[in-house]
Symmetry: C2
Subunit: 254 residues, 2 copies
Amino acid sequence: MKLAISGKGGVGKTTLTALLAREAVSQGYKVLAVDADPDANLPTTLGIEEEIAPLAELGELIAERTGGATGMIKLNPKVDDIPERYSVHKDGIRVMVLGAIRGGGAGCACPESSFLRGLLGHLLLERDELVLVDMEAGIEHLGRGTAQGVDALLVVVDPDRRSLETAARITRLAQEIGLGQVLAVGNRIHDPSDGEYIESGLSSGVRLLGYISYSEPLRLSGREGFPIIEESVRREAGKIFSALARKASRSEGG
Amino acid sequence: MKLAISGKGGVGKTTLTALLAREAVSQGYKVLAVDADPDANLPTTLGIEEEIAPLAELGELIAERTGGATGMIKLNPKVDDIPERYSVHKDGIRVMVLGAIRGGGAGCACPESSFLRGLLGHLLLERDELVLVDMEAGIEHLGRGTAQGVDALLVVVDPDRRSLETAARITRLAQEIGLGQVLAVGNRIHDPSDGEYIESGLSSGVRLLGYISYSEPLRLSGREGFPIIEESVRREAGKIFSALARKASRSEGG
């Protein structure tokens, strides 16, 4: 199962990615969690204290793999050894940090962009683990070929109009690049009216998988970086993961 | 005065940009507010209901200005007429939407990237208004030459470790590209301990300009998109703008 998680910055994308990764491990999945949002910090959220250098910043590696020094850029660089060599394990989850995937659209052939796109394609098309990719709101760099490896795009929204606007933009992009199934999770729900607000504001064709309630302990634990998850929040995440696994397997079946 | 506003997604960058723009107008400045974060929505926050297409998506305009169709890319495209032609006025503020400035580092010469960098350089180096740029956390695309036109980079942080980590990364980038003065604003402050947490977590060399308190009416108004600002919040923003204007003029004086 391959899942991309996106949404406006600050809606709780990274926290949800971490919650789903833990739930997947507890249900026996082999999990690869990929931080592809330069503005997120998935390792900290998963309790990893060591600093992991984003792959985008490993200039020598990128130059070596894309042949940048020769004046020609390989558009399909060798990347299959990267997950094993450049990842950190924690609590049964393999974690990778990609960093900023920049590039001016499909025509861009900068070395970093070619390398990271190649790597993301490999992760989404060829790995046999459950892959969760924490992505920024701009998902265009997935590309059509890679997008087809994604079983579902999960868009996280909170009860704020701008987060719904971003969700609508992401949904449009997903349709353009052929990313089939778009699902939503409502986060930071204070009361039922927040849920109704989100439900009525989602684009048509987007299925709402469930909600995560607002949690004051979770907000306060943000100071330490590692989230404190209340049992009620864990149960909500568990339900969302189960719904997700059902939908993804149904989509694989046909 | 030229100000860039940055910070982790969701910390309230766009709301602060809007608050400062209004404050500047009320103090008699001519204001140009630039939305350079594809994940933000400055027009909505300023009460503009019409949709403004991001300049990054105006493919024909970009091709025309960068000469993309000729097979050669002009690195200094003509852009000085763009602010007048592609902006919307509201309450004395001129608003422009740039969209995603992508590009794999300084070596990237994609048409969109050349066009938007040229435009940002023009706005920051040549305009005689107060320019406020709402930027994403990745500020690398400012480039050294343009960065030197910025009087101050304002980093917005909330009491969350990941927002401080992003602030530290932005500060490092700012120093690398020669962007002189880095200032911080603490947002969404619930109580004095939040302020102390932020103060103790900022990188050395970053000066804390002030705080904006957490406001429940502001959070709730997010559903409508247009923020409801309490008088107390407005006063806090006013103090921050005055401190900013003092610092920027001091930096100009030498």
